[in-house]
Amino acid sequence: MNMSRIIILARRVAQQLVADKRTLALIIVVPVILLTVAGVLIRVEPSGLSIAVVNQDAGMVLGTQSINLGDRLTANLQNFELFDTQLMAADEAKRKIEDGELDAVITLPPDFSAQVAQSRQLILNVQFEGSNPTVAEKLRNAFEQVGDQALAGLASLQVSDSGNPAAAIETDLNATYLNGGEEFDTLDYTASALIGVFVFLFVFILTSISFLRERLAGTLERLQATPIQPLEIIIGYMLGFLIFGLLQGVITLLYTVFVLNIHYHGNLLNVFVIESLLVVVSVNLGIFLSTFARNEFQVLQFIPLVVVTQVFLGGVLWPIEEMPGWLQPIAYMMPLTHANTALRAIMMTGESLGGVWVQVLALVAIGVAVIGLSARTAGRVRM
């Protein structure tokens, strides 16, 4: 192994990319455009929402005043324009939310008013349909507002039994979800995975095409008539593309965090470690598969095969746990699956590398395997 030859090759790969200004711009511009489109589509204002209230509240008598918080809440909900509010029985509401006709059901028990007065907390029992996190997020905010509105003006409730002003009653949601969870919205979930997809996609395309050209132009034959070893060629390629892969990573990350405002709790260095592993896998897969192509068109055919299948099966769009059992082992063989899982954990919950060691190990193992494949083919001029 000769470091100076590796660096000479890495420098050449970098020089070629710098010379090709259009490609260089696309590496940065395309992810930004795609992320923006994804952001707009995912965060579009929801409309046509409908909720149901199952109001069983019997009300209560406080001093001379008869209070029914349930009725007040329902009236307030009906004033909201964001959603359509219907009153219905519990079993009807259950059936409709399961059919997807309702986005949320609020259930007010018979002792609702009494409980609020006693516990000094307004707890709304809400079941969200939940398959679109954006909708659930909007409804949550609205419901908290409605709770506060219902309490407003009920001065008698704001006074404790001893006659002193009590702490204000707060509204809280006891939320359950038919599907999905509450913590993040879809863009958080998608964008973190997309950052991995972009690095993988661009490095794969660039490597496979530049290596194919190397073979077609005869420069690979000339490389083989120099003392450089196949492994040195591969490492040089990896170093050359790593610089641009990480550059793209930083820019897409900054864009998603500061422009698209996704939740980000991660450590940039951890993101880089995962991206570097992806670049290693991608460069070697590109070199290996370019051996099976005779021209640029044939290389392009590998993109659906290698990249799109990984986007479908790698948990970018659909959770792996929900896939049919026989598909799951295939998903776990794909590098993007592990990268996505790791990037999500790092970016969304601030997981350390130790917390994603399984994924790191899987990526290293896949990396070693593809280096083995590409090292065998990088030494061959003709197939």
Binding site: S4, I8, R12, L223, V381
Partner: protein, 244 residues
């Protein structure tokens, strides 16, 4: 250096088969230091296979290829060789300088002065910063030549270097080759153009993967009793058929 430096290239009974095609059939050849040796023969005679086995790109099935005293393939010895492929194999997006510096660097030469000297020899120093894609075909060939000689190899192998090159440039190329041999460099050049053969010190006639004859152009003509090299080649080819 020992008193008897090994011959630059010594080929001993090399046999190579690709599938069912016998590219080289027991070929032996010895090349002397500081000469221009021409490998002559029609297309498909095995010229490229011979040159590629000297650079170690092809491992012979039988026999052996010795370069500077080492059996090929041998990676470290390659830094003392320069190999120019048939088509000019360069990186289109990179500049002239970047291309030459890249190949020289892989051979272990990172001195700007040597790269500059190589560019001056092929008269392209003024285009050092031009990307290859902006150059004409002839200029590319000259960059290609600069990129195989910048690291000052002891042996330069040129596979049909003047294919598609205009006569004026061809004359320039041969002038470059001659200048290089004056520095003690051995040049092996393949061609199927007989008039180029006149410029070589010695020639090897190759056909069907075998060596028909070997010697200077004059000696070969004399031996065949023919007035020109083309007829001499045909005469040797006929002799071979008769003896088989």
């Amino acid at each position: 250096m020992s008193n008897n430096p090994p011959e630059p290239v010594k080929i001993e009974g090399v046999y190579k088969k690709f599938g069912t095609v016998e590219a080289l059939r027991g070929l032996s050849l010895s090349i002397r230091r500081g000469e221009i040796f021409g490998v002559l023969g029609p297309n498909g005679a095995g010229k490229s296979t011979l040159i590629r086995s000297i650079v170690g790109l092809i491992k012979p099935d039988q026999g052996r290829v010795m370069v500077l005293g080492e059996a090929m393939p041998n990676k470290p010895i390659l830094s003392r060789l320069g190999y120019m492929t048939q088509a000019s194999a360069l990186y289109d997006d990179l500049t002239v300088w970047q291309n030459v510096a890249f190949f020289a660097g892989l051979m272990g030469c990172q001195e700007d002065a040597k790269i500059q000297a190589a560019l001056e020899l092929v008269e392209l120093a003024h285009r050092a910063d031009s990307p290859i894609r902006t150059l004409s075909g002839g200029m590319r060939q000259r960059v290609s030549l600069a990129s195989v000689m910048a690291h000052q190899p002891e042996i330069i192998l040129l596979d049909e270097p003047t294919v598609g090159v205009d006569p004026q440039l061809r004359a320039q190329f041969w002038a470059h080759f001659r200048r290089l041999t004056e520095q003690g460099i051995t040049i092996i050049v393949s061609s199927h153009v007989m008039d180029e053969a006149e410029r070589c010190d010695r020639l090897g006639f190759i056909r069907g993967g075998q060596l028909l004859a070997e010697g200077s152009a004059d000696a070969l003509r004399q031996q065949a009793g023919q007035a020109n090299l083309e007829d001499a080649f045909l005469w040797f080819a006929q002799q071979k058929e008769v003896t088989q």
